[in-house]
Symmetry: C2
Subunit: 190 residues, 2 copies
């Protein structure tokens, strides 16, 4: 049985990320299936390089059309740290570490960035980027979300990501923006 | 012309690392050549995984017997941070960032670790690990060396790595230990 042309596989171990992306895909008439695969991540300061490498590896090893997603939290006053290593930094230092590093640092601007990379076997990957600009708070607020959400307030708002419901957060979400860009492009080229 | 069996290529962009390793190799009667190649680094908390992946990639792409080296600085009171991402963390936060994170942290134990991975084309890599235990100082001292050297005192010593001459530092060096292990093994199997 051949699959309909509008099917794509999202390689992720995170079921919540898959659910969020599949909802966006459905709104464009696309079918997104979950491929529970540990993506191979390279070290780079560029999320597009990381996502492209992972998408290409997964497409070659499975023979399927694949999307992967990679995200990072970039704090301007810390030279972009923790950037592409946000998960590792969160696991070792937590948001407490970022607040400690920002003690007496005047510039508290920050950026969440997500890159979605799409790759078909034997093809080059295409990347789609979503960003949310904002600032780092002086102390953590809220208990929703995960990672650095309790210390990040998106521009034009007074609440941290962790003080918002998932529905409201998704209006701003870097990840939702990147997946929406991808879905528009993917739907238009069929 | 076929190369003597005792030749191995060290894939690194760092000429100083190559020079140090070549000296150790020569003392075991081995010829180590410099292959100026950017190694492909994966994200992992395990230096052996990172070095193995890079050695295998380089061996497959060049058809040669390759060694690569990967190192990290692991601070116990920070959950092992910065670990495998030490270069990135040094470039963004410097040793100042590590001192700031350790403010009021009682446990200042730390560890430098180096892993040398050797791989022949179509073979599995072999890994050799060198470690130096010590403590993180309260302030930076000395101007030799690089990276986190000014804030690390190896066990049994009172001076930081940055206060030592390169010759003295190499008596303790994690990198020298890992290369010495590799060279012993490589010389014995010829």
């Amino acid at each position: 049985m051949t699959e309909p042309k509008r099917t794509v596989y999202f390689a992720t171990e995170n079921r919540n990320k898959y659910a969020e992306a599949a909802r966006i895909a459905a709104s464009f008439g696309l079918v997104m299936k979950h491929l529970k695969l540990r993506k191979e991540e390279i070290q780079s300061q560029n999320l597009s390089d990381i996502a492209s490498f992972a998408a290409r590896q997964a497409a070659e090893s499975t023979g399927k059309s694949i999307v992967v997603e990679d995200a990072g939290f970039f704090v301007r006053g810390l030279g972009g740290f923790p950037g592409p290593y946000s998960s590792y930094v969160f696991d070792t230092l937590g948001w407490e570490g970022v607040l400690r590093l920002l003690h007496n640092v005047r510039n508290r601007e920050a950026l969440f960035e997500a890159v979605v990379a799409y790759c078909e076997p034997s093809h080059h990957p295409s990347c789609f980027t979503g960003r949310v600009k904002g600032t780092v708070t002086k102390r953590a607020k809220g208990s929703n979300g995960f990672g650095f959400d309790p210390i990040f307030v998106p521009r034009g708002n007074r609440r941290t990501f962790a003080e918002m419901t998932p529905e409201v957060k998704n209006l701003y979400s870097h990840r939702a923006k990147a997946f929406t860009k991808f879905c528009k492009w993917f739907a238009s080229r069929q």
